[in-house]
Amino acid sequence: MTHSRRDFLFSTTAATSALALPTWMRHAQAEEAPPADRAAIADAAMVAARKAGATYADIRINRYRNEAISTRERQVQNVSRNYSFGFGVRVLYKGAWGFAASRIVTPQEARRVTQQAAEIARANAQFQPRPVRLAPAAKVVTSWRSAFEQDPFDAPLDDKIQFLLKLNERALAVKGVRFVNSQLSFVNEQKYFASTDGSRIEQNLIRSWPTFTVTAVDQAKGDFQTRNSLPSGRGMGLEYLDKYPWLEEAEAAGHEAVEKLKAKTIASGKYDLVLAPSHLFLTIHESVGHSTELDRALGWEADYAGTSFLTPDKTGKFQFGSKHVNFYADRTTPHGLATVGYDDEGVPGQRWDIVKNGVFVDWQTTRELAPLIGRKTSYGCLHADSWDSVPFPRMPNVSLAAAQDAVSMDDLIADVKDGILMFGRGTYSIDQQRYNFQFGSQTCYEIKNGKRGAMVREAVYQSRTPDFWAACDGVGGAATFELGGTFSDGKGQPGQVSAVSHGCPAARFRQINVLNTARE
């Protein structure tokens, strides 16, 4: 059965009643042009690829919608909707890749663009030092939809604006708060994948993220402090706005920004750290997520993002952390930002262990990477951020497993004599092999004799990835587990972004080096 583009749009975006759509959306869908048939376009590309001598080819025909609303204090600064539609073709010829892309979605253009990709692959094949081999993937014909309840693109704009203005108002009501900037971001990816393996996969994904920054100013001293919102984006729809206490979060941010103006500065030294999930997820992202990307370990990112301290010979042997440390990769995590039905070469989303009982056990792989370390199949980590971007290895959701026991954050704090408790992502930086890192937070508190104490500021911690995770002597139970993440993890050349989540419980780390950023 073939699907026209119009069918595709209705089957994915308007599974609910079309009457629920605002006028502009009904109009946009009714007027879509040209009404291209994706299967016919895919067929045209695949036939052209075979004719050009390709041993493998795939096409992604993708539509992207983005909505962004930004406000400051009591005014709307911007409301924008972006729409982008096009296709990209990969051709593998005599072990060399070629890629080409176009926004003109017709069978004729698909043939031309496939020939262009084949021409690039042929030019490369003359000099390709090491031919590319792909791990096999099963033929898949299916459709998949991420776990969202309400499509945010269907919701009245005014409701979304009022959501932000109410947030701002709640924060501004706190004495001492002078500015609030807030944003709502929604993303919809409607993806169609076809390959010479015979796969035909439709996917529809939605992501949502409200964010804000509250600023308190002490003009007499010429000082200012900010407090950013703590929750991350989710693979959810508009329901995310109802399922989190955003107004309370805005008010708390206001109080904490004001408190930061008066907080005492940290004394540098070694401290025990208790890190909340709203903070720890980013440390996991940088030190674990990126270090276990196989493309980095093989030098594929050496010119930009860097390599890794991990190498294939360390698989199954390297002591990554303490026995409390268990990391898993999971492209099926509910509401995860990197959760998919299938990756961008038709491999199903799956879950696997990365670090088990402290030992590094496995990598993130694609069909091209897997055979390079003797694996027969890919874990499905290929992704492109747009129809005109070349798919390449990207991070799945990588999470720290919670303790089996019901360990609370207070339990973790109770065993700390002189420590620091951190919430939220602050400054962050890590070296190109993922060893040396520095992280700050949104709010930071002393821990004295097992109790949370006063707020402190200007604290960052520095450590070395294996030392840091070896210093982990306790993780919280499932009740402390939260999902953090980012919409825009940068990697690759030309640069691409991807969305990824990291779940984690609260965790404790012993004797970590803490610096005062105002003094050092």
Partner: protein, 448 residues
Amino acid sequence: MLITESEAKAICQKILGLVKADDAQVSLNSSAQTHQRFAANTFTTSGASADTSVALTVWIGKKKGQSRTNDLSESALRTLVEQAEQMARISPVDREYLPSLSAQSYRTTGGYTAVTERITPASRAKAIADILAAGKKDSLQLAGLHFATDTATASATKNGNFFYDQKSSVSLSTTARTQTGDGSGYFLRSHFDAAKLDTQQIARSAINKALTARAPQPLDPGAYTVILEAQAVADLVPLLSASLDARSAEEGRSAFAAPGGKTRLGEKFFDERVNLFSDPMHAEVPATAATAEGIPAEKTWLVRNGVIETLTHNRFWAQQKSKAPTPGPVNLILTSATTPVTLQDIIANTERGLLVSRFWYIRPVDQRTLTFTGLTRDGLWWIEGGKIKHPVRNFRFNQSVIEMLSAGVLDTIGVPERVSRGEGGGLPLFLPPLKIKRFHFSSQSDAV
């Protein structure tokens, strides 16, 4: 193929002809890109893509709506207009609304050579194969990116303005690493003219750095005299310019805010040799002829002889303060008010210090002081008695960009050249090497 000026004008006029709103602005962006990536001494990805998108902003009774599409069909453009107008009707009043620009006069700044049409896949593959062969001779692992892009941008307003500009850029970055992983070198250069990009020389520079960076020795963290190569300056100094904004300074939330609601405008904030400015007509880094808001770009002094001469005003803030909107920056140029010194001479004049090839993963730590953290990467060497002695293991730094350019800390300003940020993005840059008397390294990094 890029959209031509006449095609761009026709599309803009078609869209504006459909607009019923009180005011409107169309922005068009057309681009063509080609790339070839290589790593581990083999080709990894390469491709070509093209896209054209239009963004429409409309105001109905000062209420704003904005929509963007890359579908240029008649029906899609109608939908674009209807979406933007529908959004404007249901949006609150835009309190920062200013009428769109009337006809402006723009200069031709150059910088377009159609690089994506001139570089064929075969010639590019051959050039990179030659680079890989050169690396192999020295038993090195090479990685890098050859990237070419042509862009055409246009904008038009309901009040009669029209702007069109084309730009090209071709770049090559190369990282060379030793097989044992104990040395790494990097070099990046770009130009708007492919004929002026010496790909073999870029690769040779990365190779030489890797060969001289092998087996780095440890050094205690602390404050050191550093010589920043132009690449390292490109990675760090542009982070300063974004903060030279009048509104945030006047609101008290910027490094250029002063106690009592004042700003640092007019103060000698930096070493008196520091000149920081933007010039769209610069021969080596020609920039767009219009700012993001459509103001005709002009030479703009941000810092002259160490004095903050401009805190930038966008159109809205300029109107609030009864000033003219700032016609820049559209590129960033740092020069010395005195005779600049070559990198070789700076090294020769250094008794003890560190030579920094580049920085990496630079992120803000404290906006009040413009303190950033990051790391050295791909080449760090100890200098003694005016000579490079040996490579040094990498460091993490926590450093205020303001402090390093201030009197008593900035030692020498070198000869500027065309450079790009290693982490990508940003304005076209023409920056010199700098010698800094005290640069703060807070810990060692094991990374090579």
